[in-house]
Assembly symmetry: C2
Homo-oligomer: 421 residues x 2
């Protein structure tokens, strides 16, 4: 008997009909002899609708109340899934995050799980019940207030529960049937991967792949919980995310895929004094404003005046705020100028095989050169190469790299209904 | 400094705009120097929409999950009201029923409050906060499961909290600005009452007045919590419901109003053996099927065969089920026949003044006679007279009684927007 944790996203629960389809799958998993714990997101666009209402009522709503509001969405889908399961003749019991023992920090809107004590869930499983747990939410240990885990937090709930219950697998259901070598909407011959390791998934998620939330993969890796990415619209086994980079034999290491990201902006600070602490001042100011920076580049300084240029990328949404902040510091005479560019795209090649493929960086650059695409920034990690290009070149760059490294197949990828997200 | 509990119904919270209007009123109450506790129903039609979703997913949903589902509605309105208050510069904190200490029996869907331990609410009030409590919901003391109090349960939450916090008044806000001498949609010159006692309100609520939920008035009477019925669309002081029948001096006792009810059906059982226990069998069978009976009449038995007829009324919704049940018993040879009639209406005259008005029953009958309306059933209590008439005569009967007892005024009653409910 295996213990399976299944997480269903909002698109899998967008209507009563879809909820019944999901319930049928859950009951089938149970009848196949498994213990089943289900984590549900809010139905369809519920969260966006609630956010919209909040915006109308108070454009700067208190975070504690925002959490109280948003968690209602998961309670609704939770209860409906439990009802649907019962109509298929199985016994289900729903739990709020609090009832399932999801204990978090007290930071409303973006709390972190500090412990999971699923005693009531374990007890219900022992009584042969299917357990339905509201995703995305927890309770602060000290204040007993309801908290949320940030966007995509239901994935993290599922992995954390799987870890605490020592589950055999954590299945993440959405409208996509696995992890692909590229976004099939951009690269039509993208192939579904059967398996990849945690590190590869982390790099893909960090580089723009939306299929799994970064934090949930970090959690799964830390507790070694195998994840399976599947579609609630098919019976395809999906993609397994498991195992560590170190455990992949060199001869089996391959290139995993190409990911693209057009959600960032690029900021360049010109003429920064190349003395200790100047860069720190920049990044401290941004960190205090809670702006996450992604890529950072600093080249050697000019010989003439001992100044250097610092370039970094950050979420495009935060760009104007970052620019304003840095322009203020510029007025204090810290540096020469600040440049802002939000027409960029980031294309990355990821794969454990990179370690054993000499010349990947050269081939990467050549593939873009052949399309006459200029590389504006360039960074690498052990299993990733990333280039920043013009945003309008992004799709072309992804296809060129996908071709160059022979990641495609003969068939056009199947994309299921509703893959618009 | 007074402690005011305010309860806002769904029609007062049907949009972001209405929520902001309600928040403004709450903040004004607080700024006037009061401690304020607010109980919110779910927004507009939320509860009906959730019920509809549940019906689609499972026509016979498990009661525990139904409660988990429905309570989400109050959490949403709760959080939104707290946010709106914060936008007007006051500090609010929202509480679920569980967080506010509303402890109930374990009967899902129709739980009763067994205790209210509002320690966290009291503490927040002491910290100068406005407290927002989700209505209609509580938590079962033993299982820690979420429960609901049945339709209209938010009124009961408000009164129970007012009692536990020793509040000075419990204000019930809806789209109607008070208790009227009759339903203004039926009797255009109906007058708003300034004050009535608990017993009068109980009789009106039991006889079809929808303005307050019977159980909440019973609770208010038991704990002597003054209630005020007000409109969230105006600044009218509304109607005060307070004090006991016994405390009204005879010279101040008046007739309160006329109420109408067309939600019942009438069932007559013919030829019941007039021996001890026969009537008990009928009512036991109905009670076991959870059918509430209202009026019951049994006349003297026939001399010839020692049988009698029993007539009773019950909710029209339950009529077909009651009829089926009784027809089965009839097959066992218990009685001659069962008659069913769902075209009836109930008109009642209520008021403490009845005790000191001789001849009210005569005048009541004459008023209906003058309109050529036949009385089919007739019962009285200390402060109420009720007649069952043809449904199509109901409005006419109400107007005739209202005129006869000079309950009207010179003006046509003001009915506010949205009084459709």
């Amino acid at each position: 008997m295996a213990l399976v944790v299944q997480k269903y996203g909002g698109s899998s629960l967008e209507s009563a009909e879809r909820i019944r389809a999901v319930a049928e799958r859950i009951v089938a998993t149970k009848k196949a002899g498994n213990e089943v714990v289900v984590v549900c997101s809010a139905m369809g666009d519920t969260t966006d609708e609630l956010l919209d209402l909040a915006e109308q009522v108070n454009p700067v709503p208190p975070a504690r109340e925002m959490d109280m509001l948003l968690t209602a969405g998961e309670r609704i889908s939770n209860a409906l899934v439990a009802m649907a399961i019962s109509s298929f003749g199985a016994e289900a019991q729903s739990f709020t995050g609090s009832q399932a023992g999801v204990l978090t920090t007290e930071r409303h809107g973006n709390a972190r799980i500090v412990d999971v004590t699923p005693g009531r869930v374990r007890e219900a499983l022992d009584n042969d019940k299917i357990c339905i747990v509201a995703g995305f939410q927890g309770v602060n240990k000290d204040s007993r207030d309801v908290t949320t885990l940030g966007r995509g937090g239901s994935d993290t709930t599922a992995v954390a529960l799987a870890a605490a219950l020592d589950a055999d697998v954590c299945e993440i259901y959405s409208d996509v049937d696995g992890v692909y070598t590229a976004d099939p909407r951009i690269v039509p011959d993208a192939q579904k991967l059967e398996k990849l390791c945690f590190e590869e998934m982390l790099e893909l998620a960090a580089c723009g792949s939306k299929i799994l939330v970064l934090r949930s993969v970090e959690y799964a890796r830390a507790f070694n919980v195998p994840m399976r990415v599947r579609s609630s619209y098919s019976n395809d086994p999906g993609t397994l995310v498991a195992g560590s980079l170190e455990d992949i034999p060199v001869e089996e290491a391959v290139l995993t895929g190409v990911s693209t990201d057009n959600s960032e902006a690029k900021i360049t600070i010109l003429g920064v004094q190349d003395t200790p602490g100047e860069a720190a001042k920049v990044f401290r100011a941004l960190a205090d404003a809670e702006i996450n920076i992604d890529m950072v580049l600093q080249n050697i300084s000019s010989v003439e005046d001992n100044t250097t240029d610092i370039t970094f990328t950050c979420p495009r949404n935060d760009g104007p705020r970052a620019l304003e902040l840095l322009s203020k510091l510029q007025d204090e005479g810290r540096w020469a100028d600040v440049l802002y560019d939000d027409q960029i795209g980031k294309v990355s090649l990821v794969g454990a095989g990179m370690k054993s493929h000499p010349g990947v960086t050269a081939e990467f650059s050549e593939a873009l050169r052949d399309q006459n695409i200029n590389i504006e920034m360039f960074t690498t990690s052990e299993i990733r190469i990333t280039a920043v290009v013009r945003e309008h070149d992004l799709a072309n760059a992804a296809r060129a790299l996908h071709d160059k490294f022979r990641l495609g197949g003969d068939e056009v990828a199947t994309v299921y209904a509703g893959t618009g997200r």
